[in-house]
């Protein structure tokens, strides 16, 4: 077998190993190790992507060389490789851009543990993307849940602990349902590998007495995964969970973890139930309705939020609604739109969560809107990145948000059902308007001049040093270092993560490069959406057995 066929397994096993290794390294070493390791992984995954594109087929990797109905398999196609690459790039950028806040929020002796968790999370994400076995999916689902809880509670204020507990309870409900669904499917089909499972399901679905049982099973799996990813009635944990976490954690949870669950759900639909069987079930219509409700409710709640992070988190609820709307529309176009939006939202939301803490930092550590007045002028780079990504969220052309909305519109028209077209178009129109209301309002606010200039400045300085009692001088010192170096940010494009020498007394601040990568990816998705759509089509084509 070709050597490249081993790479998907490497990404999982080496990540697990790195998790253990970071446990033993010192904080800074662990960070750089993680960064270079992620770059290495990206190379591996890109070569898998190139290989599958080149050969035009997917490949399965039997673990331990047991033949198909037994054993455990990894499967790699274009879609999996694309998702894995996108996940890794976003993960790397989030870690780099948020590294300073990890150092601030965590005890010095515990920083390496954070990177340990990040590596374990990488392993779980990769396993969920590559796996061809439902029970392996369950195990890594739980590992992903545990690591995401871990990255939440590293910031030891009461609210994060409470948010983590609520997050975990919801996730455990979801995992329990998912496990029950997997067990039911195993009971019905006698297999755990997706390919033999699909054959058994196709046979069973011809029996009209068994079809309802299959539908219930699909429903249980869907509810489980939609609870975990935060679909409409289950999105209430989002503001607290994302709002109080360390920026990197918020970015990882909102952009990657929830997407991994949705990707697993898509995989189950496509590879376990199969395209035709799932089209016959009413599950998707429920998802369409819930998705549309999520879009509207999430956006409305975001308008009434008084805290920047809560607003961004609630807009996440709306965006998850979009993805489920795409799945609900069904058909090739619907799934393509959902997958495209997964990528677009992952890029945009992680970038937004990485700008908000910097905006709050220059406004006295507060995320309340009234204190954020003029923060975009104080931290120009964060303000610019926030604006660009906010525009993408609204769906302005050139940015990814526009392309994905276009995809949803096309998918709705392609469904040839008047009800669906009307529902989706109305949802798109209303939500774009609502998005515009809260994102433009925020953008205007961060660029508005503070009302009473001197008074505001005092306010901005005082709480910052006060909130810093535990770690004297660290916070403010770090910030000034960041402000001194290259405020315009245009020369920073050449900054190579490896090439910057650390100046004694200054904390290296990798902000611009990863943010430029995220925003660049966003614009790429906006301008050259056909490339990604083409890749997704090829990948989905390989999905059906």
């Amino acid at each position: 077998m070709n050597f490249i066929a081993n790479f998907p397994l490497f990404t999982i096993v080496l990540s697990l190993f790195s998790g253990v290794l970071c446990f033993m390294l010192k904080g800074k070493t662990a960070r750089w190790y993680t960064v270079f390791y992620e770059v290495f992984l990206i190379v591996l995954v890109l070569s898998v992507l190139g290989y599958t594109l080149h050969t035009g087929t997917s490949f399965t990797y039997p673990m331990g060389e047991f033949p198909a109905p037994w054993g455990n398999e990894i499967r790699a196609g274009v879609l999996e490789a694309l998702m894995a690459a996108a996940f890794l790039v976003i993960l790397l950028c989030s870690v780099l851009a948020g590294a300073r806040f990890i150092d601030l929020d965590l005890d010095n002796s515990k920083v390496n543990l954070y990177y340990s968790l990040v590596n374990l999370m990488t392993a779980a994400l990769m396993a969920l993307v590559w796996t061809n076995d439902l029970f392996t999916g369950y195990v890594f689902l739980e590992i992903l849940t545990l690591t995401s809880c871990g990255v939440l509670i590293v910031r030891e204020i009461g609210r994060t602990t409470l948010a983590a507990v609520r997050y975990m309870i919801l996730n455990l409900l979801g995992s329990g349902l998912f496990l029950l669904g997997v067990v039911l499917l195993y009971d019905l089909t006698g297999h755990l590998l997706m390919v033999p499972m699909q054959q058994a399901v196709a046979e069973l679905s011809r029996d009209s007495t068994v079809l309802p049982v299959l539908t219930i099973t699909a429903g249980i799996l869907t509810i489980g995964l939609s609870i975990k990813s935060g679909l409409f009635p289950f999105h209430f944990w989002m503001p607290d969970t994302y709002g109080w976490a360390t920026p990197t954690s918020a970015a990882l949870l909102s952009s990657l973890v929830s997407k991994a669950y949705i990707f697993l759900l898509l995989k189950i639909y496509y590879r376990v139930f199969g395209f035709e069987v799932i089209e016959r079930m009413p599950v998707r219509n429920v998802l369409l309705v819930l998705g549309v409700c999520g879009i509207i409710v999430g956006s409305l709640q975001a308008i009434y939020a008084n805290n920047l992070n809560h607003m961004v988190a609630l807009s996440s609820a709306a965006q998850i609604g979009y993805i489920y709307m795409g799945i609900g529309l069904g058909g090739l176009a619907g799934y393509t739109a959902a997958l495209f939006h997964m990528l677009a939202h992952a890029l945009t939301k992680s970038a937004l969560f990485l700008t908000t803490p910097r905006l709050s930092e220059v406004s006295g550590g507060s995320l309340l809107f009234k204190k954020l007045q003029g923060s975009g002028l104080k931290d120009k780079r964060a303000g610019a990145f926030f604006t660009v990504n906010a525009l993408s969220m609204i769906g302005i052309p050139v940015f990814a948000g526009f392309s994905s909305k276009l995809q949803f519109g096309l998918a709705a028209v392609g469904s040839l059902s008047w009800k669906k077209i009307v529902v989706v178009m109305v949802a798109l129109a209303i939500s774009s308007m609502l998005n515009a209301i809260y994102f433009i309002r925020t953008t205007v606010r961060i660029y508005a001049l503070p009302e009473e200039e001197p008074d505001d400045r005092q306010q901005a300085v005082a709480p910052e040093s006060a909130g810093n009692g535990g770690k004297p001088g660290k916070n403010s010192g770090v910030y000034s270092a960041a402000a001194e170096e290259d405020p315009a940010g245009n020369g920073a494009a050449q900054e190579d993560p490896a090439g910057v020498e650390s100046v004694p007394g200054k904390v290296r601040d990798m902000y611009v490069v990863p943010m430029l990568v995220l925003t660049g990816g966003n614009v790429f998705l906006g301008l050259f959406s056909w490339v990604i759509v083409e890749l997704i089509h090829t990948g989905l084509g390989m999905f059906g057995v």
Partner: protein
């Protein structure tokens, strides 16, 4: 209907256990009771799995006396799945208990709603 339930009494019991655990995890306000609910829920699933793997009158698939025919043995895969599931469940319980300890130390109560109210009054108003 009733006969079906009686024939599949293990499965019926498993689903009832799952329901009890699920509602406990969802509606109990006490964190410890929530965790107990979670464990009941998982036990329900494990009972379901284990009962599926067991076939009346057969033995565990350990070859003794040279009997090699699969007709004499039960299906060992569900048992393996149950073991994996138990490991997952134990680790999740451990991390949730540690979080509960942390919350209790901070808010001196196990009532999740009360903790929520208390956290709203927290002064750190970022």
């Amino acid at each position: 209907m009733i006969e079906h339930l009686l024939i599949n009494n293990e499965e019926a019991a498993a689903v009832i256990l799952f329901g009890i655990g699920f509602t406990m995890l969802l509606f109990q306000r006490n964190l410890i009771k929530k965790l107990i609910g979670m464990n009941i829920m998982d036990s329900g699933v494990f009972l379901f799995l284990a009962s599926m793997g067991y076939i009346e009158g057969r033995k565990a698939p350990v070859i003794v006396d040279g009997v090699q025919s699969t007709q004499n043995y039960i299906n060992p895969v569900p048992a393996g799945l149950v073991l994996t599931g138990i490991v997952v469940s134990v680790s999740v319980t451990a991390i949730m208990l540690s979080l509960t300890v942390r919350l209790y130390k901070r808010y001196h109560t196990l009532d999740l709603d009360r903790i929520y109210v208390l956290s709203r009054h927290q002064t750190e108003d970022r």
